[in-house]
Amino acid sequence: MKIFGGVLAVLLLLAAPASAGVIATKETLGRDISVCFVGDAVTKRADRVKQVLEWIKDFEVAANIRFRPLGACPPPKTLPNGDEVYEGDVRIVIPNTSVDATVAVPGKQCPRTDNKGWGSWGTFPDAAKARRHCLFTVKLGDDPWRGEPYRNHTLHEVGHALGLAHEHQRYDFDPTVCDGIVKYFGSERTAGLATLYDPESVMHYTTGPHCKVIGNYARNGLSEKDKLTLHMMYPEDVRVAEFVGNTVVLDSENLWLMFGWKRRGAIVPNVASGFQWKIDGKPVGEKDNLDVKVAPGVHTLEYSYKDYINRAYAYKGTVRVLTKDDFTRTIAAPLAARAVLQ
């Protein structure tokens, strides 16, 4: 209980400054993201730096993100007007280094004069002024401070820097996950809800055992919906329209295909629109799912849509609609024969 009491106290300290899988902004950091550590962290806390860099590779697995470690953050460049501009897309400060992260963030024109204590936070991609003019953009404590840091806490704060907002602040937060009301849980947030509510998200605050959430104070890594949200925010270089379902069907069946993001838990109207399904060049559907009867034969399937910031996705392939006899002859029988031989 003492441990959870301490955790809760730290969480409440953390809650205020970083109002942040919910998409905070339509801006992203792009695919190639440079990461550096301010002060003498790279030499003084080399193991922690290595750990953070290792853990944020989880983002690279989930989405089209490539971190480029710079080591120590380079000094700022001074503009003709005297303002300072910092390099490094994600500039991380950690405790017990040469930088005091408990005071106003250094940097001429840096707006983070409200910074204090060791509540961690991350700067959203659209906070242009902070990203340019502040010494650091991610403040990452060693939570829980005693013992091994939480992997999910690192993912949470860097998640903010990538554009993820707090999961627990969404309006449809499920109050039944906690026995009792928890401060900062549930609010008015309706924007950017990319997936169904996810109590397993690293972007969800963890609290005591009375809440059935995993959240930022855990070590299991990104949830499946975190991964989906990142996948939608940071799409692959070649944007392929995704679906699940069978593209070889009997003529007695409908061709039924489902929008892949929806299958994974996306809230479709918030993340994609403009669905177009075509068979042999003719439009057959404008919904996220396709459910149509198609004549026997081999047909061309085209599927396209746009995401929440109008990026286009497309797929082109074939569907085969077979009579029962054709299905037995071309699919079922050969597979059965092969199974016997093996």
Binding site: A62, A63, I65, E236, V244, V248, E253, R263, L335
Partner: protein, 117 residues
């Protein structure tokens, strides 16, 4: 009994997930198979959509029985137009891909594969 598409509705090959010495970071992804191929050193599936820049998932042929099982499942899914769920080694360095021409830029060691109804 393989009378129709739904009759072989569930198939799984997961043995490699537990036999591979380097399965440090398994991850899952959906896959619409675009291509299934066999080379002397590997069997692979290429998915229509990449994840994290990766669209090839491969197993080495050094474990021939397992590679054969994987090929059977992958080709079945491809021929039958099924969407796969793949389990793979997320850590490019841990999968030993270089030894069987599975490049870290776009290929990962395939640990398991399944598809269902």
């Amino acid at each position: 009994m393989l009378s129709r598409s739904g009759s072989y509705a569930f198939a799984v090959v997961m043995a490699a997930a537990f036999s591979s010495p380097a399965s440090a970071a398994p991850a899952n992804t959906g896959c619409t198979p675009e291509e299934v191929a066999v080379f002397n050193n590997r069997v692979y599936v290429r998915c229509s959509a990449a994840v994290g820049g990766v669209s090839f998932f491969a197993v080495p042929t050094t474990d021939a029985p397992h590679a054969a099982r994987m090929l059977s499942l992958l080709s079945t899914a491809h021929v039958a137009g099924r969407t796969l769920t793949l389990t793979y080694e997320a850590d490019a360095a841990a999968g030993g891909g270089a030894s069987f021409s599975c490049a870290p830029a776009d290929c990962r060691l395939l640990l398991g594969a399944r598809f269902g109804k």
